[in-house]
Amino acid sequence: MSWWRKEKSILYALHPEKIPASGARLTYTFGLGGIAVLAALVTFLTGAALTFYYVPTPEGAYSSIVLIQDVVSFGALLRGLHYWGAQVMVLAVTLHLARVVFTGGYRPPREFNWLIGIALLVITLIWDFTGYVLRWDDGAYWAFLVGTNLLREIPVWGEPIYRAVVGDTQISAAALLRFYGWHIFGLTIVGAFGIIYHLWRLQKDGGISAPLLKGGETRTFVSRDELFFREFVVGAFVIAALVIITLIFPAPIGPAVNLDAGVGDVRAPWIFLWVQNLLRDLPPLWAGILAPLIVLLLMSLLPFFDRRGPGRAIWFARERWKPQVLFAVIALALIILSIREAWR
């Protein structure tokens, strides 16, 4: 094993030499950020493999997915890991965000990284939506149509934005190719840079947030070896779980889109079910554009209203009840709207 030197491993080298023990506690972070990064990595690698088989044309997209599922060796596993990796990533990113809110981890000096995190959430969601569209099955096609048409609701700039995103005056073969380009290329560049920057900034901001030291206390640290070991164990469990979920619940694919049959079953991906539900009651501009923007804006502003005072890096600190209640109310509303839509 002379070729193996952990000091020469790039993964090892990317880790800080030591991190505060309080931040490394599993019950503090639940490893959510790390799981999100791992899920992104799994999704990226499986996605790279899928590009060899996926055909981004209206005629070829659906049948290429059927081929991936049924004919390509380990294709169902690849696509399953890609799909479930993405779902786990969305879930981990969202829970990671909740964890940061409920522990006040965004407090200075980490407010800028919080904004990077919000941007990564947006990238993750668009990544997920563009991937959903690539399925080109009945549900995805109509969600694509509805989703992109929402852009037209933006006052004044709606049409130019629509034509920038779709690249046409309507959904077309080119639009599918553009979404494919965004999914595998544009978003990947931005997303990968964002993730790396988020991690780098985390180190620059002093690592995972930790409570302020009280008098007489000294900080204890966890070594890079220990961190590496914990990551390996959690990572192995997460990947095993992804494989098992994939085997039990194969990545979904609906019936092929049939344009002759008229508007099919419009179905947003689960992350946007709440938007779909709002669209039933509110004007499209409000439901599809303003509501998500307001939610994002409120989230972004949290560290600027909740800046100082006790409660940093402490779960559910009473002193910081206002931002937590605000977040909980928003989260609950989105969950209720999503459940309403799912049960329709």
């Binding site: 049948s63 059927v66 081929l67 599922q69 049924d70 004919v71 060796s73 380990f74 169902a76 596993l77 070991f229 390996f232 164990v233 192995a236 469990f237 990947i239 095993a240 779980a241 494989v243 098992i244 994939t246 085997l247 694919i253 019936p255 092929a256």
Partner: protein, 464 residues
Amino acid sequence: MSKPFWLFIASLVLLIALSAAVWRETHPAWREWQARYNAQPNVTPVPLEIHALVPTQTGKPELCVTCHVGIEEISAAHPAETFGCVVCHGGDPRALDKDRAHATLRGGRNPSALAVAASSCGQANCHGGYADAEQNHVDRVLKSLQATYAGGIAHVRYAFGAQKSPRAQFGVRAVSDASMVLPPKALRSLAPFPTNPVTGTIDAKMLSCLNGGCHLWTTPNKPSMYSYRSSGCAACHYVYADDGLYRGKDVTIARNEPGHGVAHRLTTAIPFAQCNHCHNRGNYDLRAMTFEWRDDLPPVARPLSAQMPPEGRRLIEYYQPIGEFTNCELELDCVDCHTAQEAMGDGHIYGAKQDAQYVQCQTCHGTPTTKPKTTTIREPNELALRRARLSGHAEFLKVGDRVIETERGELLWSVKQIAPNQFAQIGKVTGKIYNVPLVMGSKCTQDGKTQTSDYCHQCHSVVR
């Protein structure tokens, strides 16, 4: 817990998960079907791999035969190498997952179901879309009595006083005839049978009956021995055994589940037993306002088909005790006399069987003063020759032969003149050659101008 312990557990869990993935990859469902196919006696084993059929018509691979390995070719006229599976069945030809492959099947198991037949059997350049209406079989069938059931509906409603005359008003579905000129007795249109009749009326009774069989739109809702059949075109052309069991080589079709055709095969040589799965199954009981199934048939456990040859069976199985029939009605199959236009309609709407059926004994046997009408086959691609070829009896007929022509101009390709006063018939199903005696020159005193086949039965009836 120590580090090595957790390292061991995490690695083990990962290894188990990956092993499960490998196992799944190497044990797809189609492999199981192929193994079961290979395990059958008298088959040439196939390699356990994905099989693709690339029909010349589309040039696109179809993987259906990966699971349906060894399935019978549907017919000589529809070779799989040319047409493949999807052109008729729909479905996803590249899927190997059962649900995904079958999700978009046309008409479920039966692409010829009348609701979808226009886009499968009746698609353009197949059995529809021609300028010659004769070739648009699906259009014709939709207007035929077998699909409208107009005669049955009218007569039952009339018998129970629901309408004042026996003239047909309703069909199972609405149909209309856009022809400029209607032939005698043809109707312009039929209204759809009421879908919401008043409870307790004969219409309500009939509706439940119509929903469960008696016409081509549905299959019997409670099929039993002797009544298994499909619907649409397949109701006649896809032969079922009396017990409804599949006897082909495709292992994906359950062998012990009644309700499958005897093989995956369409035929124009339809044996009498297939007609039998609808016709002569029982009688309307006017008192009880119900359809009474025959009770004189052998029990389910001992079907006649297992006991005796078709000739013997027909007396018991087909003809009801009150029926009168002649020798040729006993020896020939129904399709040997009843023409395509009679069975599938002539493109017009009729309100009663007697208005649509027209072939009489004299069509082939002539009258005391006339010989049957004949026509000479002139072109190698004539319909009569094509039909002889499709029925597997190409050798029976050639250009230059004279065959019987019916009063409506249909050629009976299976009855040809072999000498000035001699005719021969080939059984479409059996391939047997029969002599067709002429009335002319016999002792018969029938008056050909006024008498119909009913009169023939007076003298020529077979005594049981």
